[in-house]
Amino acid sequence: MSHAFLDGYKPLYFSTTEWAFIRAACARLIPSEGEGPGALEARVPVFIDTQMAGDFGKASDWYMLGPHEPGANPLLGFQSPLTPAQIYRQSIALVDEWCTEQKGKAFAELGPDLQDEVLRDLQARKMPLKAELRDFFVLLLQNTKEGYFADPIYGGNYRMAAWKYIGFPGARGAYLEWANDKGAPYPLGPVSISGDRG
């Protein structure tokens, strides 16, 4: 499948190698094979890049003053001194380094099965990431799903393909005639905040 748009996209935040990692990771988290769009068709990497360059990546809304205890009980929530954008940057470098040492190639160059193995290890915290980076996989997976399902104004969910795939009508915002107990399938496709129809 052609991903000419992603090939031509100039990331706002990620470097060339980081961008290769993000594209490769998204492609495994929501693969293109099978029914429905994959993360690449939905342009999820563009969403993640935009988020990292914006308020979310900068943790603008979060309380970020110290003292920090990044290794604290995880039940007490996010405690890293690093912003999400910094966590992505440092983690990608470490994962690529680890992949090169262990598997001989950077993450993006590995085959899909090995990539899946690396992602599973990351998720299971088998990868030696320092405490400041322990939320990396959680952020990556969450941001990937956000980009898949958020309104297209944020750069992902291209042409509302993810909404059409599952049957979510987007920003229609009016269902009074469907507020009943009949269980009939809803017949209309989605609309977006910008007024596009799918």
Partner: protein, 588 residues
């Protein structure tokens, strides 16, 4: 030295539900009222309109209408032995911010506390004896009875235009309503919302099992309505963007739609946004307040003199202000002495997702309160001695939204990513419903609020520290409810189902959203050595300071708090208007 403003009769801290209620009641009594709101203005047309509001990422996920932890947060720990750490990003609870407060973005579940809940300690002692109260549990009576609050519950319901069906009219049980509720004088102002498929099959199963299903009382309107202030609302169109969102249709009861439009037209009411109160200032004898000091949007510190100070902020911000102002004796967990910060409690929730491969639920068709409920296991219906816990829960099946980032229940064993996840979302989005348990949480000697020794807010003040964890009593309660919910789930015979309830090894996890129904810390009561405010929500020590909101709850209800918070605000406003103003003094 702070700049001094011209004196006002009343200053209100926070312009959410309770600030708006006190604002209009006291302005209608002829007083000059100023409300100070630390967040932004929120206007129905400018800020809460279609289509920009229909944005799951901005408001549902990034919490666009909530208080940013960067601006204000708390520290949290599980026990007195632990070091509390900041709640740096929002998860477990979502404090509101801006004009309208959480009243802008609530779902609209509008309950009355049960008569038994308002006199819980006495009820337990009379019916089951002191032996059922575990060591360390510090439950209390509220100091106000259901009978006293009844007209004020009704008032709030009629200001909101609640859609529902009475179950107990003056002691007479009404078919189709909640037979276990306290007696009400009038039915709800509007009929219930239409029932969706999940509610229908849940209600049918519940009925067949001998329970008493009824529609959840909803602040989503089922018809056009005009309230006593002349505010007009329209019927809810089930847009599926309610909780965490402002209403695009004037169909959700909120301070904006029910009160503020009328209040803003009054010349003796004014409000200022981006104005954050730092403390209440006291007279030299510390028996009265002289006003409040706040920081305005330019960062200037300003003293606002007032005869009457109403704290109407979010629950723990009220407690924080009392502690920072030196009003009332701070609670000390080690000794159990002091009152301010005492009895912080949360709420115990759990749920079961049911998957039906052949049913279409159209999950995006939802109102914030479109649900069917049973109250057969409420606080008043359970034998605490036999079951081994104090508490209760309502069990419901609601369909509030189908926003796909957050509302994507998948069967057990579905991978969290990859081809299996992608197939799972296709197979199961639209084919699942949930049954939830929304339960009480008792108060305990070592669950409380005080000032943090380390972390400071952006104004250099000590942050509020929360010490809280789940206790065996409340875990037993939710496990009891799990057995009831799962028996209904089995009766419905779904393709599969999956449960999530707190268990024996559960500790409080601040990461996943649970509920914003935090309570206590400035509890009401009849004994000044055990409560921070009296039965009229007046602080015991400083008679011209009244504290609204769920900070007054001595332990948590099994219900969503807003109906009771609204009733308490009208109850307190009534006492201020008809008693306090004639002769300002301690009312109890």
């Amino acid at each position: 030295m702070a700049r001094r403003q011209k004196k006002t009769d009343v200053v209100i801290v926070g312009l959410g539900w309770t600030g708006s209620i006190l604002g209009i009641e006291l302005a209608n009594a002829g007083l000059k009222v100023l409300a100070l709101e630390r967040g932004a203005d929120r206007d129905m047309i400018q800020n809460l309109a279609y289509p920009k509001m229909i944005d799951e990422l901005k408001y549902g996920v990034r919490h666009g209408l909530m208080l940013r932890p960067a601006d204000s947060t708390v520290t949290i720990r599980h026990s007195l032995r632990d070091t509390a750490l900041p709640y740096r990003s929002l998860g477990s609870f979502l404090p509101g911010n801006g004009v309208g407060g959480a009243g802008v973005h609530w779902n609209g579940h509008t309950w009355r506390a049960l008569p038994e809940e308002l006199r819980l300690k006495t009820y337990v002692l009379e019916k089951f004896g002191a032996s059922v109260i575990p060591a360390g549990m510090t439950i209390e009576d509220w100091g106000v009875t259901y009978e006293e609050l009844e007209p004020h519950f009704e008032r709030f319901e009629y200001v909101c235009g609640i859609s529902g069906r009475a179950g107990n009219l003056g002691g007479s049980t009404q078919a189709g309503g909640n037979p276990f509720e306290g007696p009400r004088k009038r039915d709800y102002p509007l009929p219930p919302l239409p029932t969706l498929l999940n509610g229908k099959i849940f209600g049918d199963a519940a009925k067949a099992m001998g329970y008493h299903p009824f529609p959840l009382p909803a602040a989503n309107l089922s018809d056009a309505y005009t309230n006593e202030y002349g505010m007009q609302l329209g019927p809810c169109n089930f847009c599926g963007f309610c909780e965490r969102f402002g209403c695009i249709g004037y169909s959700k009861s909120s301070p904006q739609t029910c009160i503020l439009g009328a209040l803003k037209r009054k010349s003796n009411f004014s409000y200022q946004t981006r104005s954050e109160v730092l403390r209440v200032e006291l007279a030299s004898d510390r028996r009265t307040a002289t006003g409040v000091t706040y920081i305005d949007e330019k960062g200037e510190e300003i003293f606002q003199p007032a005869d009457l100070v109403i704290l109407a902020a979010y629950q723990f911000h009220n407690v924080h202000l009392l502690l920072l102002s030196g009003i009332g004796r701070p609670y000390v967990a080690e000794t159990g002495e002091g009152v301010v910060g005492k009895n912080y409690a949360y709420q115990m929730t759990g749920g079961t997702s049911l998957f039906f491969k052949d049913l279409n639920f159209n999950p995006f068709v939802g109102a914030g309160s479109s649900a069917m409920v049973i109250d057969n296991f409420s606080v008043g219906q359970i034998d605490f001695g036999k079951e081994g816990f104090i508490g209760g829960s309502y069990i419901s099946s609601g369909q509030f939204n189908g926003q796909p980032i957050r509302s994507m229940a998948l069967p057990s064993g579905t991978p969290t990513w990859g081809a299996g996840w992608k197939k799972g979302i296709r197979d199961w989005y639209g084919h699942s419903m949930s049954i939830g348990s929304h339960g009480s949480n008792m108060s305990y000697r070592d669950c409380y609020l005080d000032l943090d020794p380390t972390y400071r807010n952006k104004h250099g003040q000590p942050m509020l520290r929360m010490t809280f964890d789940w206790k065996p009593n409340d875990i037993r309660m939710t496990q009891f409810m799990r057995s009831k919910v799962e028996s209904i789930a089995k009766f419905l015979n779904p393709t599969s189902w999956v449960s999530g309830y707190k268990g024996d090894s559960s500790h409080y996890d601040v990461r996943p959203y649970q509920t914003t129904h935090t309570v206590g810390g400035a509890i009401m009561g009849i004994d000044p050595t055990k409560s921070a405010v009296n039965r009229y929500l007046q602080t015991w020590d400083v008679h011209n300071v009244f504290v609204m909101g769920a900070s007054a709850f001595p332990q948590n209800l099994q219900y969503n708090p807003t109906g009771t918070v609204g009733a308490l605000a009208y109850w307190s406003a009534h006492a201020i208007k008809h008693d306090y103003l004639r002769n300002p003094r301690p009312l109890a």
